[in-house]
Amino acid sequence: MSLVTVGILGILALLAILFLLRMPVGFAMGIVGFIGFAHVINTKAAMGMLGTELWQVFSSYGLTVIPLFIFMGQICFQCGVNKRLYKAAYTWTGQVQGGLAMSTILACAGFSAISGSNTATAATMSTVALPEMKKYNYNDTLSTGAVSVGATLGVVIPPSVVLIIIGLQTGQSIAKLFWASIIPGMLLMLLFLLTVHVICRRHPDWAPAGPRTTWGEKIRSLPGSIEMLVLFGLVMGGLFAGLFTPSEAGAAGSAIALFISLVSRQLTWKRFVLAISDTLRTACMIFMIVAGAVLFGRFLAVTRLPFEMAGWVASLDIPNFVVILVICLIYIIGGAIMDALALLLITIPIFFPVAQAMGYDPMWFAVLVTIVTTMGAVTPPVGVTAFIVSSMAPGTPIQRIFKGISYFMVAYLICIGLLMLFPQLVLFLPAHIH
């Protein structure tokens, strides 16, 4: 049996374990990765891997951004900041069909401008937005779907962990990559908003239009959003002004949130403890998935499946755009079954030279790949962002979330298609700003 066959069997085994045995995703990836690695290399080596990888993932500085941003959102959540914010949003946009889902997407986009990862965006925005949409009787297919796809803007709209990693791996200017992803990010956001509108036309009962509100009510609701705006403003401002790194932004945000809620007498000991314990559980769940993806990625790497796949694509005697389409397809399939970051880390060194050799602009390829793999974060069976939203929506089965997300797939595909047809959407800003 060839190693590549072993890799494919490993993927099939993972799917079977996930669906039939209902094993937690992080655990399942870890176990299949461990057994597969033991089969390909040897048991001793696989045991050694178990002893170090969990520690390496858990102790990585880059990942500390996750609990810190979640903590910020949890403090806001426990102290009701989000309720007041959403009340304001509902007062302003509630009479429009799907108004809250739209403001969720807008808020996700805003939060994405300060968060580099879609996991942090998903965790914070779902704690803020889901309970409110539930309260206003939104169908949970729409509400969880909107938060999930909205959160993926986290790695498309700069700053973005994925773009930073691609930039470092391919020696491109990260500043330019950030500029390059602004228009595609906005485009994707607009397409999501449009999708909400279309969904609401088809299912008017999913997002009930609220009662009309007077201008007086609208103005009076505004102070409810001030705390959050101040917080976001300080965190975003500090991050862009260069006062701190993303992890520090999370810590500063948590500290400021604690301060604001103490001063406004919203914070009780009980709420503080709840915020902490919920943060720990959510962060732990995410870390475990990352650790599982790393173990599974180690296994795939030794089967050389990703390398063989890339080599095969590069060897095809077909037109360039077909190769790009095939690469996208591989990323879509790969994104469906594994963590986007792990996938990119393994494949970028191989696909990137292929794209460059065919004369495609490296910046354009980087942004395209970012959006395609990001889509993988919300596609079943392994949709990390969807899982996080699911952990925040205990009453909603994961398959309903995936169903909600499926409505937005058209938006993704249109966006990817537009970027392929009009590379200027990516290249315009960096060319004119630098």
Binding site: L18, F19, L20, L21, R22, M23, P24, V25, G26, F27, G30, I31, F34, M47, G48, L50, G51, T52, L54, W55, F58, S59, S60, Y61, L63, T64, P67, L68, F71, L243, F244, S247, E248, G250, A251, A252, S254, A255, V273, I276, S277, T279, L280, R281, T282, A283, C284, M285, F287, M288, I289, P380, P381, F387, I388, S390, S391, P397, I398, Q399
Partner: protein, 171 residues
């Protein structure tokens, strides 16, 4: 309800709950410490131009404790995401055995992780390995991650026994 099996389950359950809760509290203290350390570092850098050396490294170590100590408590609330779309599609007995098997496999897996992580921590002592920035011994943090995994393994084992014995939470 006083079969030997249910007594064992009750004991393991109580022990698991106690340890999970204890670790969750310790993890919470660590999370607060992370916020405090990061803020102190920003302040020292901004106001005094003297950042606290080793902040990045310590943040990573604290973060490791935060997530490792929450492993067990997260499992107690079924917080580790699983794909449940086929749940309830099989006869209840089959579902129960699937549960038992899955929990047993995971318990074995995390026992292995705990054991090998312990061995890794011991090897750090053996080689005299220090952290790369502060040059301090850091095997204590690695042992802590091993302990967090061990408590998770204990809880998973308890869940396996519960599924086998068709044990219902006392109300």
């Amino acid at each position: 309800m006083n079969t030997p099996m249910s007594t064992v389950i009750q004991l393991l359950d109580a022990l698991g709950r106690f340890l999970s809760r204890f670790l969750l509290i310790a993890g919470g203290v660590m999370l607060t410490a992370m916020v405090a350390l990061a803020c102190a570092n920003m302040f020292m850098r901004g106001a005094m131009s003297a950042p606290i050396r080793g902040t990045y490294e310590l943040m990573g170590f604290f973060g490791a404790i935060v997530s490792a100590f929450a492993l067990a408590a997260t499992q107690m609330r079924k917080g580790h995401i699983a794909l449940t779309m086929l749940a309830g599609k099989f006869p209840p007995v089959v579902d129960r055995y699937i549960d038992a098997f899955t929990n047993l496999a995971c318990a074995a897996f995390f026992s292995l992780i705990a054991w090998k992580t312990c061995a890794y921590a011991s090897s750090l002592i053996e080689f005299g390995e220090l952290s790369s920035d502060l040059n301090i011994p850091f095997h204590g943090f690695v042992y802590a991650v091993a302990f967090g995994s061990a408590v998770l393994a204990l809880n998973l084992l308890t869940d396996c026994l519960k599924a086998l014995a068709d044990w219902k939470e006392p109300t």
